[in-house]
Amino acid sequence: MSTTNSPRPMVRAERVHKNFGSVRVLKGIDLEVSPGEVCCVVGPSGSGKSTLLRCVNHLEKINAGRLYVDGELVGYRQRGDKLYEMREREVAAQRRDIGMVFQRFNLFPHMTAAENVMEAPVQVKGLRRAEARQRAEELLARVGLADRMGNYPSQLSGGQQQRVAIARALAMDPKLMLFDEPTSALDPELVGEVLDVMRALAEDGMTMIVVTHEMGFAREVGDSLVFMDDGLVVEAGDPREVLANPRQERTRAFLSKVL
């Protein structure tokens, strides 16, 4: 899935474990995503896909293993053999470069579409409002919502809200985008418009990890496909290859249900 001669992977997981109390959600995940790669993660619900994604930007703390983004350890600093937990400010700084899109959009309901997109550049990067506004205009135009600048999220359809959420994440100029089932909460007729925006983003060379149930998207846009089950990577490889000829029995069983 990763080209071995690439200089440095954008994301690198080494035997990542995550427990919620006594429940073991991730049981040793190895993963590598190269710059510019679109990695689609599929699998049954409860397999740990979303948890893995949330670990990548430290919304969840991992219990064992190592997780690197762009060569940097996520959430920790290593000095000698010792790991030091990062301060809140350092974690926030790390997250600035990682965009995330949620299943339930999580737009800020008390702000207009434009304000949603402007919020982080102004508050975190210290951009001036006029500049941030211009950038928000560009980004909203890019996701096809130039005429929705002044609308509150409650006045937008689900698909429009998700596109605003993508623009909001892009406003921080991330080097990596995480998509956590971005189309699962949408009416079927609205899925296409969000996938179109994501496809355009992939064509622009954005590194993306996409947790999804859209096998068509994985096949057409994905550079790699990871099938997870029960906290482990069961099978990974070229999406067209994996979807057409799954090698593992579990992959085959899952695909026969969703395809």
Partner: protein, 327 residues
């Protein structure tokens, strides 16, 4: 994607569903039924009117000197007292809200010491009567002769004025209630909002200030408005510790002119004026914090009046068309 677009473009949408020979169809005759008669309501109205008439009759015969009421309604000391009531209410609420939000954040903290201290504060100040707390503050000089804040030193007697005792008594007590209101508000905000803010690289402080609190306000403002109106009335208790607000001003005058009931009516009218003005202010404040949530955002009375005027106007023009939905 492309075929779905085709499908969309083929549907003009403004044609009615096909039925064949539609143009000849006439809508059926409008229903004209005799409405249900609510005899019980009419009886109720009659009873209420009878009671109101009796009350009016009783007060007409009562020995109330309405001229005195009218005269003292705008009397200097009364107006001044109303101003002081307003002043102590605003300041106490300010103290209560700020301290209350701090306490709420402490109670939600993962640090057990902070959470415990906040819990203890709320336990004490909610568990004792305000009147007792007011007297505790006012009589502090019995146990502490001097006050020493490091940068400020004074005799406790000179320091703990009726005003300060009233402010501390009302404000600190209010903070305990506001803490619970603020906590409910903060907890009402979906956790996904915090996650989204964190994912954008915002720290905890900014997330709280920019994302969580503004949304919590929608839940916090309505009960805070009630607290404010409550405080306007509860502030009358400070008359017991010599602070000359509205109620005490009325009492002082009535002890001289012996028009007890008249002065009480004057005071009552003033309290009603204050609470009414604040109810209106509360309405607009709630509207402001409901932005982005149109369904829970009622129109202002002016907007409603304008809409009604427009409705009447359009009805006058297009009489018989009966299209109300277009307004």
């Amino acid at each position: 994607m492309s075929d779905s677009r085709d499908r969309l473009s083929k549907e003009p949408g403004d044609e009615p569903p096909s039925g064949g020979g539609l143009k000849d169809r006439v809508p059926p005759e409008a229903i004209r039924a005799v409405p249900v008669r609510h005899w019980g309501r009419w009886i109720g109205v009659a009873v209420v009117f009878a009671l109101l008439a009796a009350l009016f009759q009783a007060f007409r015969g009562a020995d109330i000197n309405w001229d005195v009421v009218g005269e003292f309604l705008t009397y200097d000391t009364i107006v001044e007292g109303a101003g002081k009531t307003l002043w102590i209410t605003v300041l106490s609420m300010l103290l209560g809200v700020v301290l209350g939000v701090v306490l709420a954040i402490m109670r939600l903290s993962r640090n057990p010491v902070l959470a415990g201290v906040a819990w203890g504060y709320i336990w004490f100040f909610r568990g004792t009567p305000v009147l007792v707390q007011l007297f505790l503050w006012y009589n502090l000089s019995f146990v502490f002769e001097t006050v020493n804040l490091g940068f400020y030193k004074d005799e406790m007697n000179d320091f703990m004025t009726p005003f300060l005792a009233a402010l501390l008594g009302l404000g600190l007590n209010e903070a305990a209630y506001m803490a619970e209101i603020a906590r409910a508000g903060i907890q009402s905000v979906d956790h996904g909002q915090t996650e989204a803010a964190h994912a954008l690289g915002m720290n905890n402080g900014k997330t709280l200030r920019r994302i969580v609190l503004p949304q919590a306000m929608r839940v916090i403002v309505p009960p805070t408005g009630n607290e404010f109106i409550n405080m306007l009335k509860t502030s009358s208790l400070v008359y017991a510790i010599q602070y000359t607000e509205l109620f005490r001003a009325g009492n002082t005058i009535s002890s001289r002119n012996l028009a007890v009931m008249e002065m009480l009516i004057v005071v009552t009218v003033w309290y009603l004026i204050l609470t009414t003005v604040f109810s209106i202010g509360q309405y607009y404040l709630e509207r402001y914090f409901a932005r982005g949530n149109e369904r829970s955002r009622p129109p202002t009375p002016f907007q409603r009046a304008r809409a009604r005027a427009r409705l009447l106007g359009s009805r006058g023009e297009g009489a018989g068309s009966g299209s109300v939905g277009g307004v």
